[in-house]
């Protein structure tokens, strides 16, 4: 990575010393990183995508260490060795190689190109293998899980809270994001107003919530525990206070929780608009309704000819 030397007696001597320092430092730092820091790097290993992001970060860090050190070691060596106070009078004699050196230039360009293309291939494989790496893929995901058991969970962003709907459990709505362990989850992220971003930090999931858009992100849980949800896209006044807690629980506990919540919230679920992947304001949307034309449960003025909420189902 360091510039190769343009041949010559004293130059080889400088170059060897630089390389020696560089190799020792790089190996030492990389080992410390790989075995001491790396396993603790966020976002952890709670899901497949989180683990994938952690290992990607570690691989890039281990590659970055020698690159950065090459520049630092070279720079430090140059600044110490070739500072003016150690040089003789007059400018150092410049030959043609001081202007350019074909070997060094080709070596530099080839090295950086190989490195960059290698990183690209690595990143591409990791993106595809982990079904989109936990990022939102829009309404038509390109990389989908092979598992037949996918739990859909809808995330609705609005100023300034996230709510979650479980379509396979009657479409109940809750502020508690509870997920079963060892299960592939499909998050369907949408918004009722402005752009939010659903960031389930420890799950390694991030997907923007756009109004009228269904943004799908996949992950597979692999550990129980709690996690934090924060909004990662500036959405107005209380953006900084827009967060939830969630937890991953064993499958049987999840079933109990989901069925209980579905039963307990049946009355309020009936008041909700029917489950849909996006929610668009209807003709009454001007006053903030997100309901089909015949349902306006909160209107105390007029219902635009709709049946009363209790009977509309």
């Amino acid at each position: 990575m360091s510039t190769a030397t343009p041949g010559g007696g004293g130059e080889v001597h400088h170059f060897r010393r630089m390389v020696a320092v560089w190799v020792v430092l790089s190996v030492a730092l990389d080992l410390v990183y790989a075995f001491v820091l790396g396993p603790h790097v966020p976002p952890g290993t709670m899901t497949s995508t989180a683990a994938n992001q952690q290992s990607d970060f570690n691989v890039l860090f281990i590659i970055a260490v020698p690159v950065v050190l090459a520049v630092w070691v070279y720079g430090a060596y140059a600044l110490i060795t070739w500072r003016a106070s150690r040089s003789g009078p007059g400018d150092p004699a410049a030959d043609a190689r001081a202007h350019s050196h074909l070997g060094v230039q080709i070596g530099w360009i080839a090295t950086t190109t190989v490195l960059v293309l290698g990183l690209f291939v690595f990143g591409l494989v990791e993106l595809v293998v982990s079904t989109g790496a936990g990022g939102g893929q829009g309404p038509d995901p390109l990389w989908t899980p092979t598992s037949h058991e996918v739990l859909p969970v809808q995330v609705i962003g609005q100023q300034w809270a996230f709510t979650f709907r479980y379509p396979t459990f009657g479409g109940f709505e809750t502020h508690d994001l509870v997920l079963p362990d060892d299960t592939t989850i499909a998050f369907h992220v949408t918004s009722l107003d402005v752009i939010h971003s659903f960031w389930a930090y420890q799950l390694g999931v991030k997907a923007d919530a756009n109004p009228s858009e269904d943004n799908i992100a996949y992950t597979t849980t692999q550990q129980v525990g709690s996690f934090t949800v924060r909004c990662a896209e500036l959405c107005g006044l209380w953006h900084g206070a827009m967060f939830n807690d969630g937890r991953v629980v064993p499958k049987d506990q999840f079933m109990v929780w989901a069925q209980t919540t579905e039963r307990d919230s049946a009355a309020s679920t009936k008041l909700l608009p029917p489950f849909s992947y996006t929610y668009v304001p209807d003709a009454n949307g001007a006053d903030g309704g997100y309901y089909p034309d015949n349902v306006d449960p909160y209107s105390n003025v007029e219902t635009y000819g709709a049946a009363s909420p209790g009977t509309s189902g």
Binding site: F57, V68, A78, W108, L119, D193, S212, A232, H239, G240
Partner: protein, 671 residues
């Protein structure tokens, strides 16, 4: 058609007696074009526009329902800008031409008041730009102090969410506007004609107009604060933009105004560099700084129109109730994201490239060596400029847009690190077996390489989609671009100021204070921003006023360092004010012993730059070659001045296509 350029700088040397002036009564001094008249025009224009807006839209149902008339605000701001330009006298010349009157010649002033009036001298405009840029910078810096004060505690609030978000948006937008012109404006305008051996810019009136537009942008974006601020940050995402209060209008109009200034500055610089190079200034001899400005100019000219148009769409959505960015009515919230970043990513390189140019320009001077791999460096700048148009969707990896394009944008983003790496090849190669002098500008250049390396490497992390999922929208991203823009561009800019201010002002800056400035800025910059990488990785989103309590130690460490970082700029202010105004010591013509053409002029540089258009004989980086020719043949008197690098007057021209010694400018003014 002949354009009359008689009253531009250097025209008196253009040969041929000027035609007899048509006598016309000059206005009294107080009524002439000036910053005072411009302010009066701005205030009057705002009042008039606001009145018209109320006339038009006061009865609109949405205005009556919300009590907020965006039409009045937008018209007020827009006509206020027109009033500002009119007051500054930007329209005097073209309007006089339109009505067929002989325009007034500019006041031939050498007094300090010329810095407060529109000028046609690129050196005056450059210094005016410097003042406005520093105003921008210190305003944005004070807002940054407010941000870090709020973040001292995770739950106790100094500002509260509303003020905090207004401050964050104002800080980001002001800094982005500032950074788009921080080098191009002051140093680009001041240096490019001198570096390429020209007496003037291609379009001096356009240059003046770009400065006054830029200054108007500063005033417009400041009006956001009394109008209640805007909640979107500098990215202005719709539909939050559409629902925001009147401060948003200042953002949209302000960015459009600054954008128009950027377009004008960009094509003016490009036209100057392409057409006004002195004889002998071939593309292989153009200073690397000029290459960086040329690449930046291309970006300014081609990318910025997208911003202006996006701003117009936003204004229409907010005033005429169109729905460009409203999903429910057939628009798209992705449209703003696409348009904004289609401008925004080239904008990032508008901020990076001139910094590269500055450090590459200074390195040979302080290493006493030729610039290593000059051609690769120039190619790298052009390559970065080209590629920068193909990376914008890496800001939208999780937005749900085009998942099939993700591999492409990951590839282009990673590819751009190759031409960026060329700059490091140039820097490191130049250090090889050099004679490194740790003067203040050199310290800043080295600091720039140190910081930009961290910023660049973290950029590669961000380009990797899986890692991007976890760090996007977090302090990691924030930190990455503060390392590239603040750590890269701003360090390079201050290095450039320490390097060129002796030439620009004719005064010597204090070296010891400069060293203090560098070391405090460098140390506290890294202490401020390095912990924020961890803060981001540990899950703190950007632009939040509340955060997890376990991150308080890191945030407080960063905040306290930030206060010291802010204070470090006071050292610069003290140094500048003391050495330029209070106790000035005249600077020698070439204090650093540079071969650069701009240093071969007298200090202060005469208004016409060169007594005779120089004939360029070599590139400016041939240090350590005893038999290298001087950089240019400037005529007998000027060569004696150059001393260090051009010891003997050149006997006769070295051949070549242009005849040295001619009195006339070989490139006559536009005719």
């Amino acid at each position: 058609m002949a354009l009359d350029m008689r009253d531009t700088v250097g025209a008196e040397h253009a040969g041929g007696p000027p035609p007899p002036p048509v006598p016309r009564r000059r206005r009294p001094g107080w009524a002439g074009p000036s910053v005072v008249r411009a302010l009066v025009g701005a205030v009057g224009g705002y009042a008039f526009g606001h009145w018209v807006g109320n006339l038009i839209a006061a009865g609109y149902s949405n205005v009556q329902a919300s009590g907020q008339n965006d039409v009045a605000v937008v018209l007020g701001l827009a006509i206020g800008v027109v009033g500002w330009l009119a007051g500054a006298g930007v329209f005097d010349y073209p309007l006089a031409k339109v009505v067929g009157r002989e325009p007034l010649p500019p006041t031939p002033s050498r007094s300090w008041t010329r810095y407060f009036t529109p000028s046609l001298d690129h050196k005056v405009i450059g210094l005016q730009y410097a003042v406005v840029v520093l105003l921008f910078f210190f305003t944005g810096g004070l807002l940054a102090m407010a941000i870090r004060t709020e973040l001292l505690s995770p739950t106790n609030h100094v500002l509260g969410p509303g003020t905090y978000i207004a401050v964050v948006g104002e800080h980001g937008t002001i800094m982005m506007m500032m950074a788009s012109s921080i080098v191009v404006g002051p140093l680009g305008n001041w240096l490019v004609p001198l570096m390429i051996g020209s007496r003037r810019m291609a379009f001096p009136r356009v240059e003046s107009c770009s400065l006054w537009l830029f200054a108007a942008g500063y005033l417009v974006i400041l009006t956001a604060l009394p109008l209640g601020g805007f909640p979107t940050g500098w990215t202005g995402y719709a539909p939050l933009q559409t629902q925001a209060t009147a401060g948003m209008d200042s953002y949209l109009v302000g960015f459009a105004v600054v954008g128009m200034g950027m377009i004008l500055a960009g094509f003016n610089l490009a036209a100057t560099i392409i057409n006004y190079r002195a004889p002998g200034m071939s593309w292989g001899r153009v200073p690397i700084f000029v290459w960086s400005i040329l690449a930046t100019s291309a970006l300014l000219t081609l990318a910025t129109p997208t911003l202006v148009i996006a701003g117009l769409f936003g204004v229409l959505d907010r005033t005429a109730q169109t729905a460009f960015f409203v999903n429910e009515h057939g628009g798209s919230s992705y449209l703003w994201e696409n348009l904004f970043w289609f401008f925004g990513h080239p904008e990032v390189y508008i901020m990076a490239l001139p910094g590269f140019g500055i450090v590459a320009e200074m390195l040979p001077v302080f290493t006493r060596k030729p610039l290593f791999a000059y051609r690769v460096g120039a190619a790298g700048m052009v390559g970065v400029a080209l590629l920068s148009f193909f990376v914008w969707q890496h800001h939208l990896f999780q937005s749900g847009i085009n998942p099939d394009m993700r591999p492409l944008f990951m590839l282009t983003t990673e590819l751009i690190s190759i031409p960026t790496g060329f700059i490091f090849l140039v820097g490191l190669g130049t250090l090889w077996r050099a004679k490194i002098r740790f003067e203040v500008p050199m310290l800043f250049a080295l600091g720039m390489f140190f910081n930009f390396l961290i910023g660049g490497v973290t950029g590669v992390f961000l380009s990797d989609v899986p890692i991007n999922v976890t760090v996007h929208g977090s302090y990691f991203v924030l930190d990455h671009f503060h390392y590239t823009i603040m750590g890269g561009l701003v360090f390079a800019f201050f290095g450039g100021l320490y390097y060129w201010l002796p030439k620009m002002t004719g005064k010597t800056l204090d070296k010891r204070l400069g060293q203090w400035h560098f070391w405090t800025m460098f140390v506290f910059f890294n202490l401020t921003f390095f912990p924020l990488f961890l803060v981001g990785l540990l899950g703190q989103p950007r632009r939040v006023f509340e955060y997890a309590s376990n991150l308080q130690v890191l945030n407080d460490f960063s905040s306290v360092s930030a206060f010291f970082l802010g204070a470090s700029f006071l050292i610069f202010v003290v140094n500048f004010v003391w050495c330029v105004f209070i106790d000035p010591k005249p600077a020698p013509a070439n204090p650093w012993g540079s071969r650069g053409l701009e240093w071969q002029t007298a200090t202060p540089v005469p208004p016409h730059n060169f007594d005779r258009i120089p004939v360029v004989l070599s590139d400016p980086y041939r240090y350590g070659e005893p038999d290298a020719p001087p950089v240019a043949d400037l005529g007998p008197e000027s060569l004696a001045l150059a001393g260090v690098v051009a010891p003997a007057p050149l006997a006769g021209g070295p051949g070549g296509d242009a005849a040295p010694g001619g009195e006339a400018d070989p490139r006559p003014p536009i005719a």
